[in-house]
């Protein structure tokens, strides 16, 4: 089964590619709507600015293709900014719309803690999680972000605390998202990607 890694014109795709291939997956970079439409599973990686990200998707006609894939039940995994783009909007770019798979708004981390939230942190399960299956409770993941969806978001299955409780892992039907970088989170991160591949 071929996994489409969405290429929106920026972002560090090689590391995500390498991590998935290392687990035996076949990957393809998808920068055109047709590639997204034909994919058996989709990974949406992202770094940088919310506005630039959703503009990059829009310019490549990928927004509608992703929405159609979601409706068709194709598994989609959003990573970091890719998770944030699954929400309705973000304070980082208030005039831009996200994919709106989830109704909530992405907000800035509070100012009473260091931001960006950069480094290795632990997550707290709030519901049963497919992605975290077999991951020890004290496992660490690598985060690098200044915005996040609040932990109270409907699809949150695991939260992380950094000044506020935010969504570290989201899951709902065929939708998956992680605020951390599984491809940069050592063996623990590899386990999360393996769980995604095994859910296909």
């Amino acid at each position: 089964m071929k996994i489409a890694i969405v290429d929106y014109g920026a972002g560090n795709l090689p590391s995500v590619e390498r991590a998935l291939r290392g687990l035996g997956a076949e990957t393809e970079r998808a920068s055109e709507a047709a590639q997204v439409s034909e994919a058996a599973a989709i990974v949406l990686p992202g770094v940088g600015h919310f506005g630039a990200f959703v503009a990059g998707l829009r310019e490549r006609n990928l927004t509608e293709a992703l929405k159609a894939a979601r409706q068709a039940g194709v598994p989609i995994l959003g990573i970091c900014l890719g998770l944030q783009a699954m929400f309705a909007s973000s304070e980082e770019a208030p005039s831009d719309s996200g994919l709106a798979f989830f109704p909530e708004k992405v907000t800035a981390l509070p100012t009473n803690v260091k931001s960006p939230h950069i480094g290795w942190n632990q997550v707290r399960r709030v519901r049963e999680s497919r992605l975290l299956c077999g991951v020890p409770d004290d496992g660490y993941f690598y985060f690098a972000h200044s915005f996040a969806a609040l932990g109270a978001a409907r699809a949150t299955v695991a939260a992380c605390d950094h000044g506020v409780s935010f969504a570290a892992v989201i899951e709902e039907a065929n939708l998956f998202g992680v605020q951390f970088h599984p491809e940069k989170s050592g063996e623990t991160g590899a386990l999360v990607l393996r769980n995604f591949l095994e859910s296909l």
């Binding site: 920026a10 390498r18 770094v47 940088g48 100012t111 960006p116 290795w120 660490y140 200044s146 950094h162």
Partner: protein, 254 residues
Amino acid sequence: MPLARRIIPCLDVDAGRVVKGVEFAGLRDMGDPAELAARYNREGADELVVLDISASNQGRATFLDTIRRVAEQLNIPLTAGGGIRTMEEGRAVLLAGADKVTVNTAAVQRPELISELSQQFGAQAVVLSLDVKRANGSWEAYVRGGRQATGRDAAEWAAEAVERGAGEILLTSIDRDGTRSGFDCEATAKIARTVPVPVIASGGASTFEDFRAVFTDGCADAALAASIFHLETHSIAALKKFLAERGVPVRQSR
């Protein structure tokens, strides 16, 4: 659930090899960057920093190739830099596989470089490399590999850089670098209390106790060292065990 304090080995790279300066006597070869990177990735490093110490035009292509080779070995974050002058050079470093790029001299000369990189790639991808030397109870920022004073107060420059979009500070104490007399905890604490972003302490690491001190007294979010790891004076696992036993939160490999 506190953020783990990070242990970061640093590879100083010249012409595709990891080197270590030896007291004006030239550079000592410490090995192949990709091989060292693979070892640190395996041994539980939390991140890796690769710095181009040649920072010459002709060396740039070689350095980008080194970043690619190193990135292939890692499933942890990679920071790279050294002599980055323009947005395009920064982009090249990130596209070669680094997650973050460091800027130093060029950012002092033209602070907009930080804003440009941050707007394009996000604050989490931009690290201000800040070399400081103690002066009259404060610290002054230096550039050109620590050889040239800027006349700027280090804390004030750090604050401006963060305001412009730097997401992290890599703070090197010139007074301590290479001395093995411990991190400059005072300078680290000063900068860490001034800016709202993580601070990586560098320069002077020798003993496990030095690391404990810079995390607890220096308020560092991460600590960087080179030769003590390259020479296998210390294993990362043993260092993390030492820190964990003293209440410093670290990510321990199992």
